[in-house]
Amino acid sequence: MDVDDELAELRRELERVRGILPERVDVDPEGVEQGLAKLVLTLVEFLRQLLERQAIRRMDGGTLTDDEIERVGLALMRLEGKVRELAQAFGIDPDDLNLSLGPIGKLL
């Protein structure tokens, strides 16, 4: 799978998510900052997990060199650490980074 294919797959996934995200956001002034941070971090974590699955598929498929595996793995590990760190800074339990999508379950 080349870069264009991966971008197309990512775009399709984003279109799908955009169609199922909640239409209403709680705008309680006390919680709006935390609510927005949670929404943004959840989407970042969703994309990170998507890239992680793709990296593992490519690792298993033998299309990445050892050096590429190391670099991609390091980037994803650091990104995960940063997401968890930011979540904690906003008073959010990193395990709570998720969105309910109604009858079809949760985003993550």
């Binding site: 209403r24 593992i56 690792m59 190391e70 670099r71 991609v72 994803l76 395990d95 379950g105 949760k106």
Partner: protein, 232 residues
């Protein structure tokens, strides 16, 4: 200016209700042949855990009196016009749901893994290298995928044994790391306790999970949500 906290959607002509939450007046917000029972407040307060339990109890009382659709706790309506708009926007769905589930009850089955995956098992621990991180995550994904397959198999087994009609079953597999399955089953009034007993016997015989059977209570999982036009 009054605000209304909605409790149930029902057909016009139900029995006179008790008081609303915190002893406040319970009002019938008329929407034609359907309407909404709601507590009237002089201002929109911060709702508490106790209010949630009181809402649940009140919904139970209202559903005992007449076929009802429970409304999600915390749904506010600005005024009677908002209630009417909400009902008009989804009248057919509400009427159909009332016919199908209004006089039924819900039994909930929750299965908890006896050995929930640890954060390390989910691949959350810091790895010594990028390669080690990806290998750990690969193992974690394989473990969670396997868990999901097991949970789906449990859901299919329980659903087929406990419900004659699969439309009477809703389930979610692996909603959290500890929970394998969250399932809701519909039963006719008078048959719900027997269904609960059958479910309890069944889940006690499952290996690898611990079962909790709850209810019966109003059919929350099968009710149509009050529309976005008036509630929020």
């Amino acid at each position: 200016m009054s605000r209304y906290l909605a409790h149930v959607v029902a057909r016009t002509g139900g029995a006179p209700p008790p008081a609303g939450l915190r002893g406040l007046p319970l009002r019938w917000l008329d929407g034609g042949d359907l309407g909404i029972w709601a507590t009237e407040w002089s201002a929109e307060p911060t709702l508490t855990r106790e209010d949630a339990f009181a809402h649940h109890d009140l919904v139970g009382v209202l559903c005992d009196g007449a076929p009802c659709l429970p409304v999600r706790f915390g749904t506010w309506l600005a005024d009677e016009r908002a209630a009417r708009r909400s009902i008009e926007a989804a009248h057919e769905r509400f009427a159909a749901a009332l016919d199908r589930v209004g006089d039924r009850q819900e039994v909930a089955v929750t299965l908890l893994w006896r050995d929930a995956l640890s954060p390390e098992g989910r691949g959350h621990a810091v790895a010594s290298s990028g390669t080690a991180f990806l290998e750990r995550r690969r193992a974690a994904h394989a473990a969670t995928d396997e868990r999901r397959r097991e949970a789906e198999a449990l859901a299919a087994r329980l659903g087929s044994l406990l419900a004659a009609d699969q439309a009477d079953v809703r389930h979610e597999t692996c909603p959290s790391d500890e929970v394998a399955l969250s399932m809701s089953l519909l039963a006719r009034r008078g048959e719900a306790e027997a269904l609960k007993a059958r479910a309890a016997t069944m889940v006690a015989g499952l290996s690898g999970v611990r079962g909790v059977v709850s209810g019966p209570w109003p059919p929350y999982s099968f009710s149509e949500e009050l529309g976005a036009t008036g509630g929020r």
